[in-house]
């Protein structure tokens, strides 16, 4: 009996093995590898092996001694070409602005330099080597793992006395995270407010009407996201349709600014994400039999009580499924805010794209992505805690 059970279990595992392997290789491994880049420091440590080995002994205050200068000089001369130097400079520049030019000057200087390496030679090439601050950066980054990017994503840095916030004029990411979360919450609520009545009408009307409404809800899915977003630009721009109609009707004197600001982001994102709330909610509402609400009314509950105590608990799985879907999708939105938002309305995905493709700072891209992932996980955990995971899965 027990053996038969074990056998069945084994067969079960074997059956799911291909999809598990697929998930592992094409999903878990790449994402994991990408996320590791948020703390990965091997490029830097690998490029300066001698310096990194030596710098642990430095007290961090005085000018480093001759041997450390020697090690740095050897590391720099050992760099294979100017591209390697450039990437090293870019890496150190993440810690301290200006480091890139320091590295490049030192690299080219050392190529022309003849004679012994050491303190005098390096300081002669660039005076900045006499500033302990530049050495402290290397000392900080001597480990294989670095908290640099994760701290930077939260507007923090490592100072001499531990972690501290960066100066206000350079702060960006906390604001960005809050903004991303806020836009997502607002869009989710707007979708719920608009989508709930829509799903309700769809679920409670006759089969003909409801299938037509379903087609209308699905219609946007069949057009590209880009087309839908640009359609909103046409509608909402200064001399767009909405402003023209409002002016004709005499409701406004001057055109309203409906786009390239937060309002435009809300409108376009809500429109694009609405089906993701309506569809799960509709399917759950469809499954709630009319008998339950009728029974409640028959037992003496006025409509508001029927709604609150019988209908709402029944459709709650749909609300939660729809809202979490919209929220998670909204968190990662990129194109829509980029097209219809202003500079202050860009969301986290915009910066991830910027760090991956424009500034090639994979560490920052990875740690922002990690934080995004963390937000989703926290949301899911909170929901699971609040309503129970089985209810999320229900239906």
């Amino acid at each position: 009996m027990e053996r038969a059970d074990r056998r069945r279990e084994l067969v079960g595992w074997l059956l799911v093995a291909p999809s598990l392997l697929f998930m592992a290789f094409f999903f878990a491994v790449p994402i994991g590898a990408f996320l590791l880049r948020s703390v990965d420091n091997t490029d830097l440590v690998g490029a300066m092996p001698r310096t990194m080995a030596e710098i642990g002994g430095w007290n961090g205050q005085d000018l480093p001694d001759e041997s450390l200068f020697m090690a740095l000089g050897e590391d720099f001369t050992a760099l294979p070409d100017i591209t390697a130097a450039a990437s090293l400079g870019r890496r150190l520049n993440h810690n301290l602005t200006g480091y890139r030019s320091l590295v490049m000057r030192t690299f080219t200087g050392l190529r022309r330099h003849e004679g012994p390496l050491g303190r005098e030679a390096l300081i002669a090439i660039d005076k900045r080597w006499s500033d302990p601050a530049h050495w402290r950066v290397i000392q900080q980054e001597r480990s294989w793992l670095t908290p640099l990017y994760l701290l930077a994503s939260l507007d923090l840095e490592r100072g001499p006395e531990g972690i501290r916030t960066i100066p206000p004029e350079r702060r960006l990411f906390v604001d960005l995270l809050v903004r991303t979360a806020w836009i997502s919450i607002a869009v989710t609520l707007l979708c719920l407010v608009l989508g709930f009545p829509l799903a309700y009408v769809m679920a409670s009307s006759g089969p003909r009407l409801s299938s037509w409404m379903l087609v209308l809800v699905l219609l946007p899915f069949w057009t590209s996201l880009l087309v839908r977003t640009t359609a909103w630009i046409v509608l909402l721009q200064r001399n767009g349709l909405v402003n023209q109609v409002l002016e004709r009707l005499g409701l406004i004197d001057a055109p309203l600014t409906l786009i390239y600001n937060r309002l435009g982001v809300y409108i376009a994102m809500t429109h694009v994400l609405l089906p993701f709330l309506v569809l799960p909610l509709y399917s759950v509402m469809k499954g709630v039999g009319g008998d339950l609400t009728r029974a409640a009314a028959g037992l003496g509950a006025p409509p508001s009580t029927v709604f609150r105590r019988v209908y709402l608990p029944q459709v709650m799985p749909g609300i939660i499924a729809g809202c979490s879907l919209v929220f998670v999708l909204a968190l990662g939105y990129y194109i829509t805010p980029a097209l219809v938002g202003g500079p202050r309305d860009q969301m986290i995905a915009h910066f991830i794209a910027y760090f991956t493709s424009t500034s090639v700072n994979w560490g920052m891209a990875a740690s922002l992505a990690g934080i995004l992932l963390l937000m989703v996980v926290v949301l899911y955990a909170a929901l699971a805690r609040l309503v129970g995971l089985d209810r999320l899965k229900a239906r």
Binding site: D291, L292, A297, G298, P302, V306, P313, Q314
Partner: protein
């Protein structure tokens, strides 16, 4: 007592529910319920019986307030309730689907009508316990509806409809989803409950056996029209039209033309040329097309038939032994097959298929209706 009605009598005599000229149409053209006039006395167990689409459930839904009334009025305790929303009608209702709230426990379900009436917690708890005891589900307070069997769920639904002590309880095919044995047991329990609690129950079913066993009164529906309302015995023994005769119990049907009429007795010539006498239910005249209905158990065979005024010969096509009774088919009147039932008595004749037999019936037991609409 003669001619004088006391106030108390008036009150008890006044019907609890009264349908007056009630019509229902969904599309404004076809009527689902036509010209319904029906009174339900307090304490009655009334069954609305009919095939699906006959208007019985619509009638119940109009009374509960879930369907609007197109024409006419419905009164509850003498008060018109056409425009009263369901939650103000104070009618208990049990659905075929049970309609238990899946997110609440059994106790919460039963307490629901008390909660919405703001009954204090202690009293509510007491009444819930009592209601659950009434349906013999004392130990099930904290279960979820999904953890109960169909019969138990139905009992919870019943307790929930009873707990706020409504005068009227509506039951929409409540036993339809149960298996046969459980259904029979629940029929008995429901009837017991009705007698014990002295409530008025209106019960919808398409099962004529159920209607006959449980009801004080049965209203038979067909095509949106109430065909007859009477006690089960009356419905069975004296159906008012062909539909009721056909729908309730078994009936043999014969077709013919009226050739003579003497008070209530009609002479009818069948298509085979045989002449029979029957009880004229409709106003039949000479030359009218008629349909005859006779119950299988009213067909007498052999010696029993000797006293009958209708007597014919037939061939026994088959006989089935059912224990307490025998059931078989007679080939008579040309191509007609008649069903008969005989109680299994000690001195029953020895029936054999193929055997020639004399059979007959008393003319009052054969009911003659006008053919066609």
């Amino acid at each position: 007592m003669d001619g004088v009605l006391t106030v108390a009598q008036l009150e008890t005599e006044a019907p609890l529910v009264r349908f007056r000229g009630v019509q229902k149409s969904y599309d404004g053209r076809t009527l689902v319920v036509r010209n319904l006039d029906l009174e339900v006395r307090r304490g009655t167990f009334l069954t609305l019986l009919g095939p699906s689409g006959s208007g019985k459930t619509t009638t119940l839904m109009m009374l509960a307030g879930f369907e609007s009334v197109t024409e006419g009025t419905i009164e509850l305790s003498g008060r018109p309730i056409n425009d009263l929303p369901p939650y103000k009608r104070g009618i208990g209702m049990v659905f075929q689907s049970y309609a238990l709230f899946p997110h609440m426990t059994v106790a919460e379900n039963v307490a629901f009508p008390l909660d919405v009436r703001h009954i204090p917690r202690a009293e509510s708890r007491e009444r819930v316990e009592k209601a659950l005891a009434t349906v013999r589900l004392e130990g099930f307070m904290d279960r979820r509806p999904t953890q109960l069997s169909g019969g138990q769920q139905q009992r919870v639904a019943l307790a929930r409809a009873l707990v706020f002590e409504p005068e009227l309880i509506l039951l929409d095919e409540p036993l339809g989803a149960l298996d046969r044995q459980l259904r029979e047991q629940m029929q008995y329990e429901l009837k017991q409950l009705h007698d014990r609690l002295d409530v008025t129950m209106i019960y919808v079913t398409h099962d004529q056996q159920e209607a006959l066993t449980m009801s004080d009164e049965v209203a038979v529906f067909s095509d949106g029209v109430m065909q007859q309302v009477a006690s089960p015995g009356e419905i069975y023994e004296r159906p008012r039209n062909l539909f009721v005769a056909q729908f309730v119990g078994e009936n043999n049907q014969l077709a013919g033309r009226v050739i003579g009429r003497d008070d209530r007795q009609a002479r009818i010539r069948l298509e085979s040329g045989d002449e029979v006498s029957a009880l004229a239910v409709d106003d039949l005249r000479e030359g009218d097309e008629a349909r005859l209905a006779i119950r299988p158990e009213r067909i007498l065979i052999g010696q029993d038939a000797e006293a009958c005024d209708n007597r014919f010969s037939a061939t026994l096509s088959d006989v089935i032994f059912l224990g307490d009774q025998l059931r078989g088919h007679l080939a008579a009147f040309g191509s007609q097959e008649l069903i008969f039932k005989q109680p299994n008595s000690e001195n029953r004749p020895d029936f054999r298929p193929g055997q020639e037999a004399v059979f007959g019936w008393g003319w009052q037991n054969c009911r003659a209706f006008r053919a066609g609409p």
